[in-house]
Subunit: 224 residues, 2 copies
Amino acid sequence: MKTILSSLRIQVNDKIYLKDPESSVLGKKIIKEGILLIDEIGFDCFTFKKLGAKIGSNESSLYRYFENKHKFLVYLSSWYWSWIEYKMLLATTNVTCPMEQLLKAIAVITEKIKDDDATLHVNESILNKIIIAEFTKTFLTKEVDEENREGFFTIYKRIINRMVDIVTMVDPEYPYPKSLVSNIVEGGLHQHFLRDHLQTITNCNEKISPTDYYSDLVKRVLKH
Amino acid sequence: MKTILSSLRIQVNDKIYLKDPESSVLGKKIIKEGILLIDEIGFDCFTFKKLGAKIGSNESSLYRYFENKHKFLVYLSSWYWSWIEYKMLLATTNVTCPMEQLLKAIAVITEKIKDDDATLHVNESILNKIIIAEFTKTFLTKEVDEENREGFFTIYKRIINRMVDIVTMVDPEYPYPKSLVSNIVEGGLHQHFLRDHLQTITNCNEKISPTDYYSDLVKRVLKH
DNA sequence: TCAAAATTAATAGTAAAACTATTAAAAAAG
DNA sequence: CTTTTTTAATAGTTTTACTATTAATTTTGA
């Protein structure tokens, strides 16, 4: 049951990879150890050569799964947002009050993640750390328009638009629902980063979470 | 007068560079043409070799000004924020109403920049485009804590804390002034990027600017 | 004024990163 | 059980990122 759920819920655009890493032992090893290595040394210092050494494989074997390390990060991000989308669906269905739904969605998006035992080859808690520090790099490139057309950011945009629908239910008169939501999703990651590294420009700390800040924000911004 | 003003107002931490690029013709050429090249090919593809070729200098000559291309981007960012700080000072002094002050500051931060003729070797409008697409990369690194300690982000943090003071004047009871402001500054850049590349998740377009969105936001969030 | 000192910039490197072509071995299909 | 396909390793190439050395120019101070 667990494995059925875990394979059903995560769907990554197949243009992102050359060969599906979920389809082989080596592929899963690349994901699992790749997440750990990026967390350890940072994406800028990460190379397929280093990952190959870590998992006892040759660099060129990894190139058969991903064209380059950028695509690998896009893959991990897509996987992450697909997993978040699933969690958001679980958290918001059967909630009738739109504002309550919105607060649940914000919690899913902005909360610090604990590992989910259903997917043994992905440590979601560490993946969350990577997304906080590296996700914006997936679209801050010269290729963003091309990759957007190819659907690399579909899941991310779908999550935002699902939340936009909820905001519109809460306050149909609010004029900037899309900017508000994209701002919350991106800003949630950013506030986590500031809490860990630039504490003087955030109120987030051990006691105040990004979830607290953004929950308060939507209550002030939206008529409800 | 113009040159006195321009040299007074921009002050960049001298740990960022090896040799002050403002101190020589070659240095100014590096800044001027570097901005154009990064805008053209993106920071990821930018190298000192390519810039050297563009300005008819050897790669190794550029290395005497900046340790690496990361530091070059940190320098351009510092320069940009220093220039913004000056513009913000001009825009907010002699404004007595705190909310009006805040709206002026938000306008300076989030508006699309036009070139300023006072600094001939810097095209501020193109630099603004670079900041939108590349600035977050300056701190999304493993070295962020070390570089923060060395003062690489001082001006950026000072701008945010200046705005935090204004927010606190507007509404002393608001519990998250730092998160609100860091969110506006970072989010302003982000909304510009979304408008240009991921239109489906922002309300910003030719008619609605990030300034409109954030001006409305603070009016809703703060009691005034 | 002119020789010594200091600065500036070019040449010619190296090491690592980012890939690719070829081939060998293992697994799957007919 | 042999042919085809898939998988992965070896051994390359090109580019990036940087450095050591040397040559040329500028500055300075006796």
